[in-house]
Amino acid sequence: MSLRDVEVRARKTEAIIALAIILATSPIIIGFSLIILSSFSKSMVTNFDPSSFYPTLENWINLFQGRSAAVGGLREDILKYTLNTAVVALGVSLVVTLVGTMSGYAISRMNFRYRKHFLLLILLLHAFPGSVLIVGVYFIYRLMSPIAMGSITTFSFFYVIIARASLEIPMAIWLMKGFFDLIPWEVEWAALIDGASRLTIWRKVMLPLVKPGIAAILLFGFLAGWQDLIYVRTFLAEKTLATFIEYNLGTLEFAEMPLVAAAATLYLLPTIIFFITSQHLLLRVSLAGLKR
């Protein structure tokens, strides 16, 4: 909200503030734009030198054809990496949503014996980011890998998804709790009097009424999985766009850099799309944890 309709002062101050905001935001705008631009150029344009901008689609062609290493002609399947990234993202999204909606409902509406303790645990974990526990998480990975029974790749996907999803669980539970809290008690009591079990109420009455929350969590979970670097590089037996970029920055010749820029632009695409289409949802999700 802003004060436009009650503006009693000169427009001049507003213009100055706007300019300051633009100035502050400029590194972000410039930084990202240059990378995107570089993907369409023969060489990186990150140095404001107009002469280095030689428009071409070469990088993109090379990218999709898998020619990323100048030496050795190793083929890299960018579509596969994109798919891998998507699989991880989707998996995280689904796990986070499922667990969040179940636990969020229970905390919001059910008075069970250790509710307060569970809530305290969730809040504590919410406050304490779990990424520093990765040594232990990897240890468990090693301990569990015999279960894989030969298919280490599938197991690694499975593990990355639930491990990464677990990082977001406390926040997801808290978010969904907030949404469930908003539903009037009477609607649920009416269903109980009508004879429904808790599970039926959850499925048929509560979930349809928290659709915005579910959409928010699905989106948020997807983005969390999509953007991840540390977990996929530590656990996943295959490459995602993140690890592709990490490895190729070091190994490529200088002249091939724009190809990495193309990969980065591709990687950035879903984020941009979600940004434009679901602004309000992102804002809502980011408010999770705030209870006042």
Binding site: A24, F112, L133, V135, S197, A264, L287
Partner: protein, 319 residues
Amino acid sequence: MEYKLKDFLRNKKYESLIFILPALILIIIFYILPVALSVYISFTPLKNWNLDRYLGTIVGFRNYERFFHMLQYDPIIRNVFLTTIVFIGITLVINVLGGLLLALATYFVSEKFSSVFRTLWLLPRMAPIAVYSLVWYYFFHGSNIGTLNSFLMYLGLIKEPISWGYDIIPWGPWSIIIFVNGLVGVSFGMIIFTSAISNIPKELVIAARVDGASNWQISTKIFIPLMKWHILYVITWQLLSLLTTYAHIFLLVQWGLVSKQYGTTWSLYIYQVAFTGRTDQGLAAAAGVILVIVGGILGYITLRILGFERMITKPRGDI
């Protein structure tokens, strides 16, 4: 009467258990167990993830002793510790102040303009980490391909490109990692504060305007006093977050943009020691356990300060 699974599921006592079971399982496996295992590993000489060889051996507090010894005498580790403190301290201030300033500034300009720019500020947080790192890799690159270098050379402020991450010790790498993480952190405060401001009744601001208050006066005399809880919330949350975050600076060190000593924080150090280079998991675990303890205490203090009790309201009904 046969007791079927269906009856078990319908039993009121276990209803709630079913709903929280998935979360409980995940929490045990990925939070509680790792802490326990990390503690155990910290008492072993585990290296290179050679479980068979080292896991059965207990070497007592040797890893902890090594860590504290290195803290005192090894300049590299000392610098990591120093970097951590400087990083957290300065980034915290930037995050809170930046978020506050942005929230206040966007309040006083048109809504359309504000929402566009608030969205832009979400980009660092939402963008893929690898892409984000790539952006700043080129921005701060030490050669003349670096955006900052070419900008300053164009303005005539410097004659040759500067390797920010290596030549200007320690503030070069420090500034870079603070800047990179700062941009991510600012969006958190910005969102919280924007929401808080929007909950302040418009009438207060109108009344102040009619009395002739300027933007600055409205901000300092009305908004900030009413946002005390939110400011506290952002400070405590960000503090914990900064203590444990490392993903956004990992690649900057890995790619050699910044010097290792002055670009690594404690949490990143743990990851490095465990998974790259020397892969000494025993040592990493010890450093990790200490960090977890510090983080756990801070987390608990955070919740007490913020009034945990108030966040919980009991459900209604006895069913």
